[in-house]
Amino acid sequence: MDRTPVIVGIGLSDYPRAPHLDGVQHHCLAMQRALDDCGVPKSEIDGYINAGGGGGMMIDDPVTMAEYLRIDHRYIDGTMTGGSSFEFHVQHGAAAIREGLCDTILVTYGSDQLSRMGRTLGTGGFARGRQRIGGPIQYEAPYGNSLVGAYAMAARRHMHEYGTTSEQLAEIAVGVREYATHNPNAMYRDPITVDDVVSSRMIAEPLHKLDCCAITDGGGAFVMTTAERARDLRQPPVYVLGAAGAQTHWNISQMPDYTTTAAATCGPIAFERAGLTPDDVDMAMFYDSFTITVLLLLEDLGFCKKGEGGSFAAEGNLKRGGRLPLNTDGGGLSSCHPGMRGIFLIVEAVRQLRGQAGEVQVPDCNVAIACGSGGWLSAIGAAILGKEHP
């Protein structure tokens, strides 16, 4: 029995604006589409993962959703590392399948963030008004930092140490937007220039509005199983070649080095497991909550040296036709970011590896990397996926 873990089904719910769906409905629609995609009957799902944490305290946590979807699982995981959760899920799901804890795993995500909360969410800060704040965030909450501000402090330090410029960061947003012009569902589809980015409104110096991701609705799902089971399914399998995750901190004040993420730890582990190097990767799905996120992941995963991410981007490597095409769906920066984007990285990487990406198809795409960043550059998960059986 070949228990090599594969991804066989992918599905997205409706985005970027879906006022007709609530969060749970996003989970459900994405599941239906992922099952339709691969032809696995729902009754065959014996493992379930989502990023809802645990405890049955939320409307869409794993045990509640397992009941709602009626998945009689013998493997369940609720790992919640923020946006990178789904790269951790690939790691955990692959291990569970290899070990025989279950045979076929469903992973789902759904968020109605835009329709429910509106677009002020991302920069609104962690705490409002006079409320009392406990836990480690009590040491940060009085200072009015924002989500963007946390990333901005990393960007500022990178500029200080390595001379990285706002124009170099802007190149990342420009390249991702170019891909978004080909995605009819993308939130923002008009082409932009470096000048547009650096002259857009400042949100938290040095990050401008166009250095920041969109705020959207959306959901996604994928189905993992064994290479054996994949043989008679509708879609060609995508192999999990290597997946790893690591964490350096959670709250931004505890980041040990403001220019290095945990990708420097988990990237080499994922590549070692895959028996590959960054040179072997044909396209990248990097978490682009902010332009600086991409730049740090690029460096920490070894696609360029530390400090050279800015010039790597400015040389056009991440753009269409470049050395490492990035975020071909239009990314979180321009297409879809409903709060935790990690699942979209997996879905798009699978689409590319199957050769189903239409006009944004990366030619000869054999190996893709999905790298998620959760929290405030805190918990990083990397999944290296491939078209060929390892």
Binding site: F126, G129, R130, Q131, G144, E205, L207
Partner: protein
Amino acid sequence: MTSSTNAEVVRGQEWERPTPAKDGVSSHYWEAAAQGDLLIQRCPSCGNRQWYPRAVCTECGADPEWEAASGRGTVHTYTVIHQNYAKPFRDELPYVVAIVELEEGPMMMGNVTGVAPGDVRIGMPVEVYMVEAEEGLAVPFWRPARS
């Protein structure tokens, strides 16, 4: 605890910001701040110094001891916040959020005040002062060092 910070404590200002909820460890930190002391922790086993305070040493897991910091540091990195919809911060825009590297080594978050946001630089020497939020609870802030 052998030393003290002797920082200025600003009292009597209206406090509209989120207020820390004291717990078994943090109560010492916030109460000391109200007396003008910026507390960090030092581990008697391994010598590690840490901020924020915890019930264990992050290096070796032993019980840390309190130590008053000098209250001097430098800006390690910072941002100028231009957008925050939350009260009261939205009325204070733009303002500086920084990571300050203490003379003793640990880094901590704070606001740098008393200087135009555009004049803040990485490496800038800063000194701590406290703002009382309520009786027995003050929050450390930073301003350019005087000497």
